[in-house]
Amino acid sequence: MRLHVELPGLQLKNPIIPASGCFGFGEEFAKLYDLSILGGIMIKAATEESRFGNATPRVAETAQGMLNAIGLQNPGVDAIIEEKLPFLSTFDTEIIANVAGSTPDEYVEVARRISADPTIKAIELNISCPNVKCGGMQFGTDPVMAAELTRLVKAASSKPVYVKLSPNITSITDMARAVEAAGADGLTMINTLVGMRIDIQTGQPILANRIGGLSGPAIKPVAVRMVYEVAQAVDIPIIAMGGVRTVDDVLEFIYAGASAVAVGTANFENPYVCQEIIEALPSRLDSLGIEHILDVRGKAYAQLVSRP
């Protein structure tokens, strides 16, 4: 029970969740370990229709980071509900649907349909994808648009809504407060930073999409800082992500004020990483003298925060 975390709509047996887009719909990882050990799973973004996404190359490596420009490739919300959720429903873990779109109507429609499925316990509203021309980050960098979209999706969704914040913004706290005021049940943060890498031989960007989203350990300090600031600015819980690959990274985000942590890029480096972190957590808590993991939530800004 020392790892159990209760959040709006979610009973997490531990605070470790694979991040959206880095775990597909779980099928590949289910061959490697039992997905029921996970606190939850954030599945790949869903849009109304199926999307192919961007041209390839879609990934490039950077110093302790990677750029991706997948472009929200997915089979469309109905196919996800019919073909992917039944499989996911066989595991004892909380499934969180990542909802994307090009227009508010699309977001609303996707959220309405997918939240109605009993397998889905919460919605992650993706207003921060840097890899699509319309929608995505444009909603995530304007607090007024973000708040309006949150309100619409909240009204359409039958499950709690977590808004996924973009770090490509001047004031992440203003954004967080805006979506909190609009009714968000929680926040997930951060999505990727916008970046680029250029091929020295050709002088051209490596990604076909030219720009992409930077993830991995390189961005962790930015993510920790943003979680630290936002946790003090809002009252809704935060699921944090950005560069996590060890049990200490998880603790860093909890100290910064997060209530749970998602693991993205690290799944590519080590597909067993979530399992390894979950197994390592209890003894790490022992060695630090921490009873329940949330006993130290927000310790970086307060001497002690009581368990929620």
Binding site: E27, T56, R58, E61, I70, F268, E269, P271
Partner: protein, 239 residues
Amino acid sequence: MRRDVTIISNRQIAKATMEMKVRCPGVEVAPGTFFHIKTSGLLRRPLSVANVEGEEVTFLYKVIGEGTSELANKRVGDTLDVLGPLGNGFPLAQYGKRVVLVGGGIGVPPLYYVRRRLHEMGIETIAILGFDSKESVFYEEAFQALGETIITTVDGSHGERGFVTGPLARIDADVLFSCGPEAMLKAVAASPIPERYVSIENRMGCGIGACFACVCKAPEGYVKVCSDGPVFNAEEVLL
């Protein structure tokens, strides 16, 4: 699927080209599959299996960037963290058919292993291997030992001058197995040989089918190179 393998040898065999053998016990490795190899970079590096002998797996790799340079500096006895074998390889049951193997540059390695396996099964093959120039040519004798082998070089410094498509036009075959740069695969996929298989080398993220980094368009939707391939019937993909 993730394992530590021990390096048995690691030597240069041509210009900027290395052969690495690792001990990898207890695994069945089909020709055309690959391993996803950890270096100090964040993303793993995919390398095709170039041969398997008992517990020894061979990789042949070109040193082009940070990851492959790091591999080139590894010493005997060092271990590598690998995922694999991954993906689906070449269809081996080609009895009674004339099989031609067409490889270009770093696309040559998987063709060696598939040829060896076909050879063991008594299936005759012709190989056409394209390189930049004489110094880049590798494994020529090894290929010769398994059947007719035509080498082409772009600058004509060894074998026939030009591209693999030159000799390919003369050859009459039922099945084609190919691996190499995209431009070559495109040309080869357009050959009149009735059955054509291509092994595609796209940039990868996860290597196991979860991230959609490596996709290739297909007549119906798309395929994931890492998990649906890397070997495809040329009809299944839009190159």
